[in-house]
């Protein structure tokens, strides 16, 4: 492997690793920098516009112009949301300027640093301002022009800005493209909804075909005395109240991450708005709102009912007035989590624009005023819309209808949102969207409007989002105030796209003493829920009044095409929030006080909502909702389904015990699931490449012999060595050194040669470096310096010549879960050599384990393992047998046998190296000895040489004093000391002959002169000398003091050799 060769040396390897890391970090940084948008600094400017009807002064609009690198370019006006300013839309502006557009942002009158008062996107004020800005753009040289005073311009914005966009396009034909996000069509209808359809008084049930007169909620006559969306309105008002006049600085903190939007306080999505701190108290209750709007608002806020003055004002603020005049291609994006401006508002806009023949595209994204900003795909869609219709670049944007459906919650805790697509927007009109009839059932239920209207169900909080889950989830339905009708458990999921419709019978329960001032109208709140199957007890106890019977044993009316399984016992979990967080308020104008039931058709909120298989579709009817003003008069209503099969079941106010059934008409647009993900092709190619590389590497590594070819050839079967040449010695170690990382020197300077047929003892105290040396010989650890040659081959990790070496180093190594026999078998099979070469029988005999060979190794004693390991080392009869402390743990007979084995093994022409710290061991086993101490060889030779060259003599005599006297005349003699049976003499430089003559001359009765030392003395002398030498650093002197052992200094690396 080239890489491996390249990386062989340690420093180079670290350099390479460091380079790879550096490159990786660099690439990451580069990616980060490349993807970070380059901020374009806008030109801040002020545009003066006329004040409008009733306003004397001109208005100074605080604007910013973003200019792209290439001009002239088409312009886009980006309008901000309610409570925001031009700073709210910086992100949108930067995205569009990056796409090559001139972008104009401005603070609408009454917001930010612009002067004037807020007229709620009035056709007379704000829309006129926007037209003045188009005039201004017509004069800018950076802006591409269609003609004199006709710039190429698009307009976009969310909510307040979205309505402005539509109204500008509807009143100014110079606008060339529009993209409006989460905005309204009819502001009165949005703020005063009433989702009631046809009302029939009396017990005369209408025929099923007559269900509903209006195709969508948006077609419900707006004047039908809607229910005031109080919480939202108050939240929006407070956003301008807190800001106060001229308090533009309060808005400078942040910009919308998700797109233009309105900015109620406490908005969780981080859109801008007043932070509420350090704002001076405002004198005016309406802040910078126009006085006439303020007056109308105060009246509404007090009464909770719309006034004619308010209706007139809101009409001037509704795109409904002008959208039919729009000629510019229009993109409408509406949020599915939007309790302020629902999907029906976009639907009305789309329908009216399309009616005039203008191209219009609609999309629903998983967000909205109650739940998150525009997703990236929708933002890209806006950019692409302008790119095509303004700049003429790109392909024609699809007018397909895309909507997101939140599926079950994934492992990560986020809903699995999938996007479905239809070629065209079907609309909420039931003539264009297929509807399914799903049977509902439930007993007639009594629900109570509590005195004072509290506590009220909390289904949605402005700026917080729907409460389908979370801590407040349990409050979405209040016990006793809520009736529930559910379908059977769905066998297959359904996706509701639009406004479901059903008919209800509602009757007032007569009160004994009616309050004469009581309101005769009844307000109810309906919502669509996904209900969980649960026990019937839960139904009776929690969701219905005490007078309700259980829902068990009901029969259903009408089969659903979605398919339903027939399980009984269904209830809704109270914590399950309504679809889209939305409730549909209905106001029944005159509910007879005598208990006469009224049949009403109700349009549930338009939603994109999935009810999973295994759940049931439910419709919840409540008397209270926190988002709307409460009726303070206590009242109780009896609510039941009014359906095809229920006419007989429902018997009036008093007799409503038992099941009622009815059908809810559920629109299901369907569609094809689309994958908006990036193309996987690039990753697939990368994946294929890496797999290919990995596979190739795996094959190559398997073939690699880990060594240059030159070395591997020498010992293989194909190796050719001239038979007349003297074969190289089995082991030559020269100047070996090992320094472990961290600076510990285990072996300093070891040199010795092992010749064929020797049993060589490597002798040294514990820690002398014997084992480390042997590990280096076996290629297990690398040497820091020096050279090791096995049969003439240099040693490196895994070098093939090791096949001629059998080893036992520092303990046995067996697989404990296998028997001794299996271990040896697998070991031999692991070498890849033929079974006939193994000499397994001999090895087993040497191990001498008997039947224990079939037991698992983990049951062996240390001695048994030891013998097995030596047998393993002998498998295949290696030419060199290396045994490290082979007799440890053996008993004396086994030790004796082992010595004999080793001698006989060497006698077959093979070589044995034995390390030991036991002198007797080496002395009795070995022919040769190498003494190692503190990492150095300090002596080498035959055992006989070592002993005979010892300088200490034991003189056996009966007259030691005479002997001392006789020897005292000799010069060069060392110490003389007493010894048992005579004296011990260090003869020093004196020869034995001279010494003997001196004794004879002195007439000393000598019985014997013998070398006193055995190897032990030699060994200890050498160790002492060696350590002294290493301390002094003077090797030669050390030798002299050591008493001339029969060796050449290990320091010069050559040992005395004596032929065996």
């Amino acid at each position: 492997m080239i890489l491996g060769r390249l990386l062989r040396s340690r420093p180079r390897r670290w350099v390479a690793v460091a380079s790879v890391v550096a490159i990786a970090i660099g690439a990451l940084v580069a990616v980060q920098v490349a993807t970070a948008p380059v901020a374009v600094q806008p030109d801040n400017l002020t545009v003066s516009v006329p004040g409008g009807p009733g306003e004397s002064e001109t208005i100074a609009l605080d604007a910013s112009l973003y200019v792209p690198t290439v001009t002239p370019a088409p312009a886009v006006i980006v309008a901000h949301g309610f409570g925001g300013s031009k700073k709210s839309v910086v992100d949108d502006a930067e995205r569009l300027v990056a796409a090559g557009f001139v972008v104009l942002t401005y603070s609408a009158r009454g917001f930010g640093n612009s002067t004037g008062r807020i007229a709620l996107d009035s056709l007379d004020y704000e829309v006129a301002d926007a037209r003045a800005l188009v005039d201004w753009l017509a004069k800018q040289p950076e802006v591409a022009q269609d003609g004199p005073n006709d710039p190429r311009v698009g307009v976009t914005g969310g909510s307040y800005g979205g309505a402005l966009s539509l109204m500008l396009a509807g009143t100014d034909p110079r606008v060339d493209a529009v993209a409006a996000v989460e905005t309204w069509n009819n502001l009165e209808q949005a703020l005063f909804p009433n989702n009631i359809g046809r009302v029939t008084v009396g017990s005369n049930p209408p025929s099923p075909s007559a269900a509903g007169v209006a195709p969508t909620p948006a077609f419900v006559p707006a004047a039908a005395d809607g229910v005031f969306k109080q919480a939202w309105t108050a939240a929006l008002m407070s956003s301008i109240l807190a800001a106060g006049p001229g308090a533009g600085t309060a808005n400078e903190n942040d910009a919308s991450p998700g797109g233009p939007a309105d900015n109620p306080p406490g908005n969780s999505s981080g859109r801008d708005g007043p932070n509420g701190s350090g704002i001076s108290p405002v004198a005016d209750a309406c802040g910078r709102l126009m006085p006439q709007l303020c007056a109308a608002y105060l009246q509404v806020a007090e009464s909770g009912r719309i006034s004619s003055a308010m209706t007139a004002l809101l009409t001037r603020s509704s795109p409904a007035q002008v959208v039919s005049k729009i000629t510019a291609p229009t993109l409408l994006l509406q949020g599915e989590q939007d309790t302020l401006f629902g999907l029906d508002q976009a639907d009305a806009n789309a329908r009216e624009i399309a009616a005039a023949g203008t191209p219009v595209a609609v999309g629903w994204y998983p967000g909205g005023h109650s739940g998150g900003g525009l997703d990236g795909q929708s933002q890209d869609r806006i950019t692409d819309w302008f790119r095509y219709y303004l700049a003429g670049h790109g392909s024609k944007p699809s007018r397909s209808f895309q909507y997101a459906v939140a599926g079950p919650v994934s492992q990560r805790g986020t809903p699995r949102v999938r996007t479905l697509e239809l070629p065209d927007y079907p609309g909420l009109d039931r003539t264009t969207t297929p509807e399914h009839s799903i049977g509902l059932r439930g007993p007639a239920q009594t629900i109570v409007n509590p005195p004072g209207g509290q506590p009220a169900a909390i289904t949605s909080l402005p700026g917080v989002g729907s409460l389908a889950s979370g801590a407040l989830g349990g409050l979405t339905a209040m016990p006793g105030q809520t009736a529930l009708f559910v379908s059977k458990i769905l066998a297959a999921p359904i996706v509701v796209t639009g406004s479901a419709t059903l008919r209800l019978n509602v009757a007032r329960i007569p009160t004994p003493s009616p309050d004469p001032h009581a309101d005769h109208s009844a307000v109810l709140f309906l919502s669509l829920v996904a209900a969980n199957p649960a026990s019937t007890n839960d139904v009776a106890g929690d969701t219905t009044g005490s007078d309700s019977s259980s829902g068990g044993g009901l029969t259903t009316g009408g089969a659903s095409p979605a398919g339903q399984s027939g399980l009984g016992g269904i209830a809704a979990m109270l914590g399950s929030g309504p679809a889209g967080g939305a409730v549909a308020p209905i106001r029944i104008p005159d509910l007879p006080a005598d208990g006469t039931p009224v049949t009403v058709t109700v349009h549930l909120p338009a939603v994109a909502f999935q009810v999973a298989a295994g759940k049931a579709l439910g419709v919840r009817v409540a008397t209270t909702d926190q988002g709307f003003p409460a009726s303070t008069f206590p009242a109780a209503y009896r609510v039941s389904l009014s359906g095809a099969g229920s006419g007989g079941a429902f018997t009036g106010a008093a007799g409503g015990i038992g099941a009622t059934t009815g059908n809810v008409l559920v629109p299901e647009a369907g569609g094809v699931r689309i994958n908006n993900d990036e193309s996987p092709v690039g990753w697939a190619i990368a994946l294929g490449a890496i797999l290919l590389l990995g596979f190739a590497a795996l094959v190559l590594v398997g073939r690699s012999r880990n060594e240059p070819r030159r070395r591997s050839r020498a010992t293989g079967a194909d190796s050719v060595i001239p038979s007349d040449a003297e074969p190289p010695p089995p082991l030559v170690v020269t100047g070996l050194k090992k320094v472990y990382p961290g600076g510990v020197t285990a072996v300093d300077d070891v040199s010795f040669t092992v010749r064929r047929g020797e049993v060589l003892g490597l002798l040294g105290p514990n820690g002398a470096g014997k084992t480390t040396t042997l590990r280096m010989v076996m290629g297990l650890i690398s040497s820091s310096a020096g050279d090791i040659r096995l049969f003439g081959e240099p040693v490196s990790p895994g070098t093939p010549v090791l096949a001629r070496v059998g080893s036992f180093v520092e303990g046995s190594g067996f697989l404990p879960h296998l028997s001794g026999k299996a271990n040896l078998d697998l070991y031999w099979r692991g070498t890849g050599r033929p079974a006939s070469d193994s000499y397994m029988a001999e090895a087993l005999a040497i191990a001498g384990l008997g039947d224990a060979i079939k037991r698992k190794v983990r049951t062996y004693s240390q001695g048994m393992r030891q013998r097995l390991a030596i047998a393993q080392a002998m498998l295949g009869l290696p030419d060199l047998l290396i045994l490290d402390e082979p007799t440890n743990g053996l008993d004396p007979p086994q030790i004796h046998a082992m010595r004999e084995v080793l001698r006989r093994y060497a006698a077959t022409g093979r070589t044995v190296v034995v390390s030991s710290h036991l002198l007797s061991e080496v002395e009795q086993t070995c022919s040769d000895v190498v003494i190692v101490s503190e990492g150095r060889t300090i002596a080498a030779g035959t055992v006989g040489e070592m002993v005979s060259h010892s300088s200490d003599l034991l003189v056996s005599t009966s007259e030691p004093d005479a002997a001392r006297h006789a020897l005292a005349r000799l010069t060069g003699l060392g110490e003389i000391e007493a010894a048992p049976g005579g004296i011990a003499v260090d003869r020093g430089t004196v020869s034995v002959t001279v010494l003997m003559r001196a004794l004879i001359d002195g007439d000393v009765p000598v019985t014997a002169i013998a070398p006193r030392n055995r190897l032990e003395e030699v060994f200890l002398d050498l160790i002492a000398a060696g350590s002294m030498r290493s301390k002094d650093g003077r090797a030669e002197e050390g030798h002299a003091e050591g008493g001339q052992p029969p060796h050449n200094s290990a320091a010069n690396g050559t040992a005395v050799r004596t032929s065996p």
Partner: protein, 304 residues
């Protein structure tokens, strides 16, 4: 003189020694070939006889049975949680297999794969048998390669066992049938099996990185549990980091980020992007770790 001379075991040893052939110093006839050392079947035999291998594979057989038993014992009353695959486990054999895989993927299979890859070299080191393998000599890179291949085979065998047993148990308990998902997609006929197969492949690809990490650790340490534990631990850390939204796009590069990409095989159309990118990322990490393992092991001092 010595009593040892009367020891019969020593006699037997020496008798065995008597017939040893003499060595011929001029013709070393060791028919050794490095590329034949440690054959796959030998290493496989060494691993298969280990208790932990057998337990791991046995658990792959037991888990589907345990789950099927649990489903059979449990009541039909689903909890208030959202509808998910778990609720649909009993609808068909394919659904059951997917649920078993779902339960296994995030932790169990991670542990099993970590065990097979993280234990393989470190356990040899802890038994001291590694040095004898290397002294055979098995070339170091070849040793790692054989270990890697065997660990991969064992891991794949474990997953295959799990899938096959799950399907068989599912067929016996719930019968064949279409694969249905909570989002309402239903796949019948042949689509069932290629989608299950795609799920398995995606899941395997997501385990590659942890296998590579465990393999690097097994080379770096002599403690088998240390290697396995480190791999599992880092997998959990990655899963935790993936929950921290503040990390933003950096999370896309976490090795576990696409660990549920297999669910993209069960939608229509198949979410190839997540599956492909996830597979690339996981395998790229694995390649880095395994390369590092080879580089480390190539020059490592074997002191065990």
């Amino acid at each position: 003189m010595s009593p040892i001379h009367h020891d019969h075991s020593a006699d037997a040893v020496l008798a065995a020694m008597a017939h040893l052939p003499r060595a011929d110093p001029h013709a070393p006839t060791v028919p050794f070939r490095a590329d034949r050392t440690l054959p796959i079947r030998v290493e496989m035999a060494r691993q298969m006889k280990r208790r932990r291998t057998q337990i791991a594979l046995g658990f792959m057989v037991a888990l589907p049975l345990i789950l099927a038993g649990a489903f059979a014992l449990g009541s039909d009353n689903a909890g208030p949680s959202t509808s998910s695959f778990i609720d649909m486990a009993q609808s068909s054999a394919a659904n059951f297999a997917i649920v078993v895989l779902f339960f296994s993927s995030s932790f169990l299979l991670t542990v099993v794969v970590s065990l097979f890859f993280g234990d393989t070299v470190a356990s040899e080191a802890s038994w001291s048998s590694l040095k004898y393998l290397l002294a055979m000599p098995v070339p170091r890179l070849r040793l790692l390669r054989q270990k890697l291949v065997v660990a991969a085979i064992l891991s794949l065998a474990a997953i295959a066992t799990l899938v096959v047993v799950s399907v068989l148990v599912g067929l016996a308990a719930y019968g064949p049938g279409p694969l249905s998902t909570p989002t309402g997609d239903t796949f019948g006929g042949g689509a069932v099996w290629w989608r299950v197969a795609l799920v398995v492949v995606a899941m395997i690809s997501q385990l590659a990185w942890v296998a590579g990490l465990a393999f690097l650790m097994t080379v770096a340490t002599d403690i088998p549990l240390g290697a396995v534990g480190t791999a599992v631990l880092l997998s959990i850390v990655s899963q935790i980091l993936d929950q921290i939204t503040a990390l933003g796009a950096l999370r896309n590069w976490l090795p576990t980020h696409f660990s549920f990409a297999w669910s993209g095989a069960m939608v229509d159309p198949v979410n190839w992007f997540d599956i492909t990118r996830g597979a690339f990322q996981s395998i790229a990490y694995a390649a880095v770790f395994i390369t590092a393992a080879f580089l480390v092991f190539r020059r490592k001092d074997i002191t065990s």
